[in-house]
Structure formats: C-alpha cells, structure tokens
C-alpha cells in the first residue's frame, strides 16, 4: 500500500501541548507540508510568537526564533535583511499581531518585507486564559468582556486583511479558515502561494487563518467549528484580498489559480 497522508518532515514528532481540537496543530501541519513540498526546509527560519504557539519551535523541524509579544514581523525583518537567501515566516496569534503588534505588522507589510506571515485568528487571547482580543466578535463573552464585547465602548473587531490590503505596496493578502477539511485544503493552497511568492522574491505575503479555541470559547471542538462557521465567517470573509501585479503563476506553474485546481481534487 502507498501512504498518501502522513506527518510532514518539517514537523517534529513532539506531541503538542495544545488543547484537544485546537487548530494550531492543523496550521502547523499545513505550513510543514508546504515547506516540504517546495523543498525549503533547510533554508527556512520560523518565528514563534508569544501566545499558545509560543513553543512552536518544539513542533517544527526547522530553525526558529522566538519573538517578543507582537514583534515577530520586526524579528523577521532583521533575519531577512541579514540573510535575504533565507525563507522566513512568522506565526502569530490575533492578540500578538492585531493588538500589541499592530505597528510592526503594518510597517513590515508597507515596506514590502519579503517574508510570510501566518496569522491565527481565534477571536481570543488563548494562552492567557481567554481575554478579549481586537478580533473578538461583537457580544462575545470573554474574561475581560464578561457582559459581551460592547462595540460602543471598545469598537468593532479588527480585520487585518482589510487593513493591510489598503496599503499601496504590493503584497499577497488572503484570509482562509481551517475548521473543515475543504477549508483546510484551501488554506493549504493559499499558504503554498504565499511561500512560493517569497521563494521567488516577489513580495510580502500574509495568510490569516480563522481558527477555533474550544477551551476559551467553552465549546467542544465540533461545536467550536460550528460557532466559527456561524459567527466568524460572515464578518471575516474567506477570500483573497490582494495579489502582486507580477502574476506569479507566470513565473511558477505550482502557484496561483492553476494550483488551486490541483489541490482541490
């Protein structure tokens, strides 16, 4: 028999500390698969955030740096400017990237730094025990919004893709979800496009992954996937917001639309 699905090489065999059903694990695997497929493992450096995925360096079989809370894009800038030949990606939660790290992500994107950002939007601060994030949904109850997020007091959820897409500097900006197998396939395609664009030195790339946090949402993993579907998808449309002019499909048959079909079968 031929194995058609197994742990990718860029993932270490260490079991994760994530809660049951936590989609951090899914996105980890997708990134590893893409790096394997593009043959980039030996020249890739990942950057772990401060958040539940702070220990990501234990789970990937890659060189890694652990960054201060929200500063991963600054760290990535340092690595990429020092060694443009390396493939660099940050892995950041929504508290990390959209709250404390707002300035770093906006400016890195605007400079067009040629690294890839994987943004895990689970609408909550997971690691610290379920406080409100900038991405928390209106009315959503968290430990710091016990009466539900009041948009009149703290405003509406921040949509990073929409903000970054408003910049003139070219880039690849897409939002995906990882709560169903079909969405996972689409997420994988987007991640592959992002890393391919980096490999070809074309532009900054950003993939937002709508994720679940069963523990802090107080739901079972299966319920959580439903909650995401019903509450997050309408507000956070899953779509591509921006692609560089230089159609990368032209330079590389693997990515772009052609690719989408391939992966879909």
């Amino acid at each position: 028999m031929k194995v058609i699905f197994k742990r990718p090489e860029s993932l270490s065999s260490t079991p994760t500390h994530y809660c049951p059903g936590c989609t951090h694990g899914v996105v980890h695997r997708l990134i590893a698969e893409v790096i394997d497929e593009l043959g980039l493992r030996e020249r890739t450096v990942g950057i772990a955030p401060v958040g539940c995925s702070v220990l990501a360096f234990n789970y990937f079989n890659l060189d890694f740096q652990q960054a201060a809370h929200g500063r991963a894009p600054a760290v990535a800038t340092g690595i990429k400017r020092a060694r443009p030949d390396l493939i660099v990606f940050t892995y950041q939660g929504d508290g990390d990237l959209a709250s404390i790290g707002m300035s770093e992500i906006v400016h890195a994107a605007n400079r067009g730094e040629k690294f890839t950002v994987v943004f895990i939007n689970n609408a909550i601060y997971g690691m610290t025990g379920g406080q409100m994030a900038p991405t928390t949904m209106p009315g959503q109850v968290t430990t710091t919004s016990p009466r539900g997020r009041d948009v009149n007091d703290v405003g509406y959820p921040i949509r990073m893709c929409e903000i970054l897409a408003s910049l003139k500097t070219p880039g690849f900006i897409e939002r995906v979800a990882v709560h169903t197998p079909k969405q996972v396939l689409n997420a994988r395609r987007a991640l592959k496009e992002a890393f391919t664009l980096q490999r070809d030195g074309i532009c900054f790339s950003f993939v937002e992954c709508l994720s679940i946090c069963p523990t802090n949402w107080g739901l079972s993993p299966v319920q959580a996937t439903k909650w995401l579907e019903e509450n997050m998808l309408p507000y956070y449309p899953v779509q591509n917001f921006k692609r560089p002019e230089i159609k990368c499909g032209m330079r590389n048959a693997e990515c772009g639309t052609q690719n989408r079909e391939k992966d879909a079968d």
Partner: protein, 81 residues
Amino acid sequence: MAKKAKVTIEKNRCKGCELCVHFCPKKVLAMSKEINDKGYFFSSVVNQDACIACRFCGLICPDCAIEIAVEEPKTTEITNG
C-alpha cells in the same frame, strides 16, 4: 476513488477531539470507550472498508495522529496533500 484504503490512528497521539469522526463522510471512525495513556477517549477505525481515502480525517486532525494509505499509488503531487 481508491479501491482499498487503510487508515491508521496513533492511539496515544490522539486527544479525543472527535473532529475526524465528525468530518468522516463514511462513518469509518468512532470514539473508543477506553482511554489512552494521555487519558483521552481516542478515535478508532470501526469501519475500515467504507473508507474512500478522502483524507478529510487526516486534514482536520490537529495532532497528526492519522496516517492514510491506499492500494494503487497516486501522483506525488497529491502524496504530500
């Protein structure tokens, strides 16, 4: 679609999240009544023959506890998929 497929679940990697069971279109999987070393009720294969190798279980498993094999190999393109 694959004639024959084999799905293997690494019992002690499983955290019992039930996502694979939920998304399996063919009810190949179910949660066991016992617990594994981690103390979780783990997922197990209860209807192997029904499997169509759609990979949904593997795609959604957050803990890489699932491996899938089929009789006739597909193209490498899909291997890593």
